[in-house]
């Protein structure tokens, strides 16, 4: 099974973090990524630029509109993701709990939809 772990965190808290704290956090992220890539669980991962860089695109009745930012004001924003390979949801949850952001924000664990191929 493949699971996408979406990391939701308060990006203002990130911005307000002191440099040594941010360095520690990044080091933890690197250790997590290296460890679980080696074990074959992490298939891909990326961090995202903060939401002020985001653009939302919609097409309605054939007309495209673009708006600034994400579509809703929320306390926590999508900050990055890991694509995992795990045996089942229990294993995915165990790994997601080790993502450093799980301690400050929340990790949404979503199974990847598999489409049958002929």
């Amino acid at each position: 099974m493949k699971y996408l772990c979406l990391i939701y965190e308060n990006e203002q808290a990130w911005a307000a973090m002191s440099q040594p704290d941010a360095d520690t956090m990044l080091k933890e992220y690197h250790a997590f990524t290296d460890g679980y890539t080696k074990s074959g669980h992490v298939l891909g991962s990326n961090a995202l630029q903060p939401t002020h860089t985001a653009t939302t695109v919609r097409v309605r009745n054939g007309k495209m509109s673009t708006t600034d930012g994400p579509f809703a004001e929320t306390r926590e924003q999508l900050g990055g993701y890991y694509l995992l390979e795990a045996k089942d949801l229990n294993e995915a949850i165990q790994i997601a709990a080790k993502i450093p952001g799980a301690r400050t924000g929340g990790i949404e664990v979503r199974p990847i939809m598999e489409f049958p191929r002929d």
């Binding site: 099974m1 045996k87 089942d88 949801l89 229990n90 949850i93 664990v109 199974p111």
Partner: protein
């Protein structure tokens, strides 16, 4: 074949259905990998038993026979529908491969299946509502109508909740497994919580269908027994079962004939169920011996002291207070604090109790809890502070939501005026 042997076999099937159908289902879910396919296969297996047992006799191990029959029926049914739906032939192949890999069924793995079922139904990735509905439907075999009546909901709502939960189990790959040792404490807590919620719903709800409520308490006690049979060394499993039995022993005396609430001190202790008290007390001792004493076992120990006392006055309040101290340490909540204050009042007098109730109220978290104000009112009345007591009873009445509780508080107000 004589008519009476047919009747005997039919009676045997019925008896086995009641005792074993959920365990058969639990094993079929593991072997077939799908809740709905397992449900269908289980019904086919019991239909086969009704047909074959009158002539062949009841097999030595009916559960294993039924699981095995259900397995073959599922393969047959997939092969039959494969003519119209090609994906079914893949399923039939998969089921046959699994059968080749594990043809024998031993009792131990069948017992484990029942645990797999309950741990899956109570998986924390499912919402609490879904956990309860799924447990009652799949583990207890209550109909969606019964679940709906017990929780003041509608059958379509409950049915949808169950369908969604099963879809999440399948699509998110929630494993059909007993938790690992490291996960066990948390996961067992979730199971015990669901069982206790089912019990309290049956025990304390004052609305809804009385027959269904009795069924809920009976089912939760039955689940507790089964769980203890399979996890005999878990102190909280015996603790929860003890707690439920000791509460249930007072069922007949909790309300008067007119449906009014009767307080512990007013209940006719001669009507308490001695069998349940004896079993509950033994289970409390068993929990204590495991050395891993949790909140359920401590609450059960308190309930046992109440059950053993001949009257409210001769209750061992000092020991009850000590147990509340333990409870406050392992599971601190404002309600535990309140109950401890009431025990202190019984041991040291209303003055001492009132001081603690006021302190607990001042800390917050109890303001909207009607029983906190009712307890305070009782103590004020005992101390002769009539006006303060009246005000506190008024506050309690305004907060009480259930009709019998409101009537009870009105009675208190009238007595005082």
């Amino acid at each position: 074949m004589s008519e009476s042997s047919t009747d005997d076999a039919r009676a045997a099937v019925e008896l086995i259905y009641r005792a074993e159908s959920r365990r058969v289902l639990a094993s079929l879910i593991r072997l077939l990998g799908d809740f709905d396919r397992a449900e269908e296969a289980m019904h086919d297996a019991f239909a086969a038993a009704l047909q074959q047992w009158p002539s062949s006799g009841v097999p030595a191990n009916p559960r294993a026979w039924l699981v095995s029959a259900g397995r073959f029926k599922a393969i047959d049914s997939a092969r039959r529908t494969a003519r119209f739906d090609a994906s079914q032939s893949l399923i039939a192949d998969m089921l046959e491969q699994r059968h080749a890999a594990q043809p024998e069924l031993d009792d131990e793995s069948l017992d484990d299946d029942w645990l797999r079922l309950i741990f899956t139904c109570c998986h924390p990735a499912l919402s609490p509502d879904a956990q309860i509905a799924l447990t009652l439907r799949e583990v207890c075999d209550l109909t969606t109508e019964q679940v709906a009546r017990a929780f003041l909901s509608t059958p379509p709502t409950i049915a949808q909740r169950i369908v969604r939960a099963k879809a999440k189990i399948r699509d998110a790959a929630i494993p059909y497994a007993i938790p690992t040792r490291a996960d066990m404490p948390d996961r067992l807590d979730a199971v015990l919580h669901v069982i206790y919620l089912v019990f309290t719903e049956g025990y304390s709800a004052t609305s809804g269908d009385a027959v269904v409520r009795t069924e809920l308490t009976r089912e939760s006690i039955r689940l507790g027994r089964l769980l203890l049979e399979l996890l005999p060394d878990e102190g909280e499993v015996s603790g929860l079962l003890a707690l439920m039995l000791l509460h249930d022993s007072r069922r007949a005396t909790r309300t008067t004939r007119a449906g009014e609430i009767a307080l512990l001190a007013e209940q006719d202790r001669g009507l308490w169920d001695r069998g349940e008290i004896a079993e509950g007390t033994q289970l409390v001792e068993r929990s204590m011996r495991t050395g891993r004493v949790g909140p359920y076992a401590v609450q059960a120990a308190i309930a046992a002291l109440h059950a053993e006392a001949v009257s409210a006055e001769t209750t061992d309040w000092a020991q009850i207070m000590g147990l509340y101290d333990v409870l406050l340490r392992i599971a601190p909540t404002p309600i535990v604090e309140l109950n401890r204050a009431v025990a202190v009042a019984m041991r040291d007098g209303a003055d001492a109790g009132l001081k603690l109730v006021d302190e607990a109220l001042a800390r917050g978290g109890l303001d909207s809890y009607h029983l906190a104000h009712a307890a305070r009112a009782d103590l004020l009345a005992q101390l002769g502070r009539r006006a303060d007591a009246l005000a506190a009873y008024e506050q309690a009445r305004a907060l009480a939501r259930l009709e019998p509780e409101r009537r009870f508080l009105e009675r208190r107000l009238m007595e005082l005026q």
